[in-house]
């Protein structure tokens, strides 16, 4: 299967500064989160994928098309929502989105209908005849999203889509991104410094630090893997015998304090087995938590990595 984005020793240099340093990896997620601290190279990577900056070495492919040699085909498959305010002055939203649709190749006869659709979809249906420069910040973000999706691209690149949005509008934006992701009709590349946004929308993440790719992991798999780590809080009974019985099932365990116990579950062991053993040893299980790494843990681990430590899963 063709990857959504393939990076092949991709480097970008501005003058003497190397911004992106030999990025390698293949991204296949339905929604890919691009994370990193300020100055890590997230926006430069997006701009390079869009052909705004030429790679100084290496290349990247989007849906198998080389970004340098097939720039037009690549851009035809992409919808881009920039981070900063971007619109065409003195133009109503419907004209603005229609112009963008036509520039993407949609015939004039269909472009108007698509523009109305996109604006209704993002929730600007009632305000679509107002000039975009008169919009509030939240409305401008929605108009930017409308122009990014009007031509039905296969990949939608969103650069900080929730910047400056109030909580209800942010929630609406996140819901729309998830809807698009779940529709399966477009892949999403979401760049954000807000971990919560990425956690809510993405199933794969790419973490950049100082121009290096320091982590590329599938959040879904990470979440599944984390289901193996369990914390138990128990009361009464013979706790040691209970722990040894669990160990007898092939699970690793560690007792901490008088009531707590940490387990790494064997693949063949189910939660019901734990309850069965607890009953046998007259131990009450008062609390059972899947101890999973949050995105924050993953991100912080990646940030501890020095330079180009890992190109691949954490």
């Amino acid at each position: 299967m063709t990857s959504v984005i393939e990076l092949e020793q991709l480097s970008v240099t501005f003058g003497k500064r190397r911004i992106l340093k030999s990025l390698d990896g293949a991204l296949n997620g339905r929604s890919i989160g691009l994370l990193g601290p300020n100055g890590a190279g997230k926006t430069t990577l997006i701009h390079t994928l869009l052909g705004f900056h030429p790679p100084s070495s290496g290349t990247a492919r989007i849906f198998g098309q080389d970004i340098t040699h097939n720039a037009k085909q690549v851009r035809a498959a992409i919808g881009y929502m920039p981070e900063r305010d971007s619109f065409i002055g003195k133009m109503s939203a419907v004209h603005f989105v229609r112009l963008m649709a036509e520039l993407s190749g949609i015939p004039a006869s269909h472009a108007l209908e698509r523009a109305h659709e996109a604006l209704f979809y993002v929730g600007l249906g009632e305000a679509r005849y107002r000039p975009v420069d008169s919009y509030s910040l939240g409305m401008k973000q929605l108009a930017k999203l409308a122009q990014a999706i009007v031509h039905g691209p296969k990949l939608i690149i969103l650069d900080e889509p929730t910047n400056g949005l109030d909580p209800p509008t942010r929630s609406r934006m996140i819901n729309m991104i998830r809807q698009i992701r779940d529709s399966g009709r477009a892949r999403i590349l979401l760049s954000s410094h807000l971990l919560r946004d990425v956690e809510e929308c993405c199933d794969e993440i790419l973490v950049l630090k100082d121009g290096y790719l320091v982590a590329n992991c599938n959040l879904e798999e990470e979440r599944k893997a984390n289901r193996k780590f369990i914390e138990l809080e128990t009361r009464g009974g013979d706790r040691t015998a209970f722990a040894e019985a669990i160990g007898g099932l092939g699970c690793e365990y560690a007792l901490s304090g008088e009531r707590r116990m940490k387990l790494i579950m064997n693949e063949t062991v189910e939660i019901s087995d734990l309850y069965r053993l607890a009953l046998a040893h007259e131990v009450q299980i008062r609390r059972l938590n899947f101890k999973r790494d949050s995105l924050e843990d993953i991100f912080l681990k990646a940030m501890e990595t020095n330079g180009r430590a890992t190109n691949g899963s954490l």
Binding site: F52, K72, R75, I78, P82, I88, G105, P107, G152
Partner: protein, 309 residues
């Protein structure tokens, strides 16, 4: 899909060809330009002289109409290269006025609103973007320069006969090429200024300044140093020389002035100084250089994002 079904939908319909997408830019811009009553009025006024020229051509070949109007036919202008050169020069002046009105916001507005990433993230190259913007000026100026010029030429040819057409066919090329050179020069200069300056008024001012300040300066230098060489820095004089060249009317010596030398031994001596226009190749070189500089400026400024190194 109806608008009430608020779902994301991919587009799987037909698409227009890649090469023609840049034409969307002039289509929208021209629609926008004609919303201005001032511009529409000026645009209509630009057709007055072509109308007069067409009437003159008609009268020249219609003895009945001339006698009816009681005009002496010899008083009418001869329809020759001077007639068409004057036409191109006059319509060229109107073209300049239209450019000053239309061109300044073309790129500056996109730069001010950070719209370039939106254009360039689509299957549209920087060259196509600039071509699209040039097409706005090109279309409007063509409507008032070479298109009516060639129509008048055809009217004259149809009235004067095939013999006149064949012997003067080169003039059709001069009308077209002379106008196109002016359109190219105006549009490149105007777009380069528009790409440098974000404010429309400043861009218009810069455009006027670029055309009039060096011309005034050139006239001062010419007067002081008894020469015509300074015409090279005047865009008006340069394009005028090119037009004269294309219509086979160019003469290097356009006059002479009488100079004096005071000598303590002899009496004051008078002598004539020939006033020589710069050679035609020099005028062409100036135009090419200006176009080159404008292209470089556009290449530098028309980018999705400016890279600070």
């Amino acid at each position: 899909m109806a608008v009430y079904e608020h779902l994301y939908r991919a587009y799987d319909g037909e698409e227009v060809t890649h090469w023609s997408r840049f034409l969307v830019i002039p289509r929208y811009a021209i629609r926008d330009v004609f919303k201005s009553k001032l511009f529409t009025t000026l645009f209509i006024l630009c057709f007055i002289y072509p109308l007069i020229a067409a009437i003159l051509v008609y009268l020249r070949h219609n003895a009945n109409a001339v006698s009816l109007l009681q005009i002496n036919i010899s008083e009418l202008l001869p329809i020759d290269n001077t007639f068409f050169s004057t036409f191109v020069g006059l319509q060229g002046s109107f073209a300049f006025i239209l450019t000053v009105i239309v061109a300044p916001p073309l790129i500056s507005r996109d730069l001010a609103n950070n719209a370039l990433p939106l254009y360039l993230c689509r299957p549209l190259s920087r060259v196509e973007y600039v071509l699209g913007k040039m097409a706005v000026i090109g279309f409007l100026l063509s409507c008032i320069t070479w298109i009516p010029g060639l129509l008048i030429f055809l009217l004259q040819a149809s009235l004067a006969g095939v013999g006149w057409l064949w012997s003067n066919l080169w003039m059709a090329w001069s009308i077209f090429f002379g106008s196109m050179v002016w359109i190219l020069l105006l549009s490149l200069i105007a777009l380069a200024i528009s790409a440098l300056v974000k404010w429309r008024v400043v861009a218009s001012g810069a455009m006027l300044g670029l055309f009039f300040v060096p011309s005034a300066f050139a006239e001062i230098v010419n007067s002081l140093f008894l020469t015509k060489s300074a015409h090279l820095i005047s865009l008006w004089a340069t394009i005028n020389n090119i037009w004269l060249g294309l219509f086979r009317l160019f003469e290097r010596q356009t006059g002479s002035v009488r100079g004096t030398v005071s000598n303590p031994i002899y009496e004051r001596q008078f002598f004539d100084i020939a006033l020589l226009e710069p050679p035609l190749w020099a005028s062409w070189l100036v135009v090419v250089l200006i176009c080159g500089v404008c292209v470089l400026l556009l290449a530098r400024r028309v980018r999705a994002y400016e890279v600070v190194t």
